[in-house]
């Protein structure tokens, strides 16, 4: 509902409410597009206005949630089209977890496990779903059960390392990642995980060594485009090392 003497601020607020209510439904997208423009104009004029920043942020947060929900729909479709492909399952778990829809995703993977109890991937998915939702005890239970089926499964081991790390048992997590690096030096995941944990422990030199390995591996494998962010992480750690030295 618009009125002729509506101020720009009232208009922005109305559009934010409309997008919040409608999301991807008819009328929602145009409210979002107009709302963004209205807030950008207002913020250019009133850059110190906290309420404007809050509302503009919230409009973007709503948009982000809807985009993640749309991404989850894409992953579900990918799973339907290629049921043997693991990757969209892990993405779906991350997306649903970001939407605070843990019960939905956990229930889905419980049902899948009940339907295919001899498939080790179902234990991996369910353990991952619990881990991503902070349910560490449940994740450990799933890992233990999966291990009864496949005692030496590398993916379950990797998830266990993350569970231990999240529980503050970082040395144990680092030891597992070390084992995984020895098993498969081409898998960068344990290097990334070790880098974060070593930095959190204040072991900056070791963390820097992990980032050097990651960057070197990517450059050697013609993947220099993905080194931007690792280089930023390395620069941050080197700055901390320089701070320690001074």
């Amino acid at each position: 509902m618009t009125s002729q003497d509506e101020t720009l601020r009232e208009k922005a607020s109305r559009l934010m409410n409309e997008y919040e209510a409608l999301g991807p439904r008819p009328g929602g997208e145009s409210a979002y597009t107009e709302g963004i423009l209205a807030y950008q104009q207002l913020l250019a004029e009133y850059p110190q206005d906290a309420r404007l920043h809050l509302e503009f942020g919230y409009l973007q947060e709503c948009r982000g949630r809807n985009l993640i929900r749309a991404a989850a729909g894409c992953y579900e479709r990918a799973i339907e089209l290629d049921p043997d492909w693991d990757k969209p399952h892990y993405q779906l778990i991350l997306a649903r977890s970001a939407l605070v829809e843990s019960e939905r995703v956990i229930d889905l993977y419980k049902q899948r496990l009940a339907a295919a109890p001899d498939q080790i991937r179902e234990y991996r998915f369910l353990a991952h779903a619990y881990l991503r939702n902070g349910a560490l005890e449940e994740a450990s239970q799933v890992i233990a059960a999966g291990r009864r089926l496949e005692p030496d499964d590398a993916r379950l081991l990797d998830i266990e390392a993350e569970v231990l790390d999240a529980a503050g048992r970082r040395e144990e997590a680092l030891a597992i990642w070390q084992r995984l690096k020895e098993r498969d030096p081409e898998d960068l995941s344990p290097y990334f995980m070790s880098a974060f944990t070593l930095e959190a422990l204040g072991r900056y030199r070791e963390a820097a060594a992990e980032w050097h390995y990651i960057i070197g591996w990517m450059e050697a494998h013609d993947d220099a485009v993905h080194t931007t962010w690792p280089k930023e992480m390395l620069a941050g750690i080197e700055a901390k090392l320089a701070g320690e030295a001074s």
Partner: protein, 68 residues
């Protein structure tokens, strides 16, 4: 012969003797493992756990219209 070697050799020979039975045995064992696990997991999350808090968070969001 060390006990582990003996066990693994017996296991291999057993599998070799019953190749057609192995998938069914594995499935039956797995079904039991999964059933025990799912029964454990189906208990409600303990108060203070993240899953428990998430239920409250979701209820609060709905109350305050904070869901897009």
């Amino acid at each position: 012969m060390p006990a582990d070697d003996l066990r693994s050799r017996m296991w291999r020979e057993l599998l070799a003797l019953t190749p057609d039975r192995w998938p069914a045995i594995r499935h039956a064992v797995a079904a039991r493992i999964a059933a025990e696990l799912l029964a454990q997991l189906d208990r409600p999350p303990p108060p203070g756990s993240r899953l428990h808090r998430e239920r409250h968070l979701r209820a609060e969001r709905i109350c305050h219209r904070e869901v897009a």
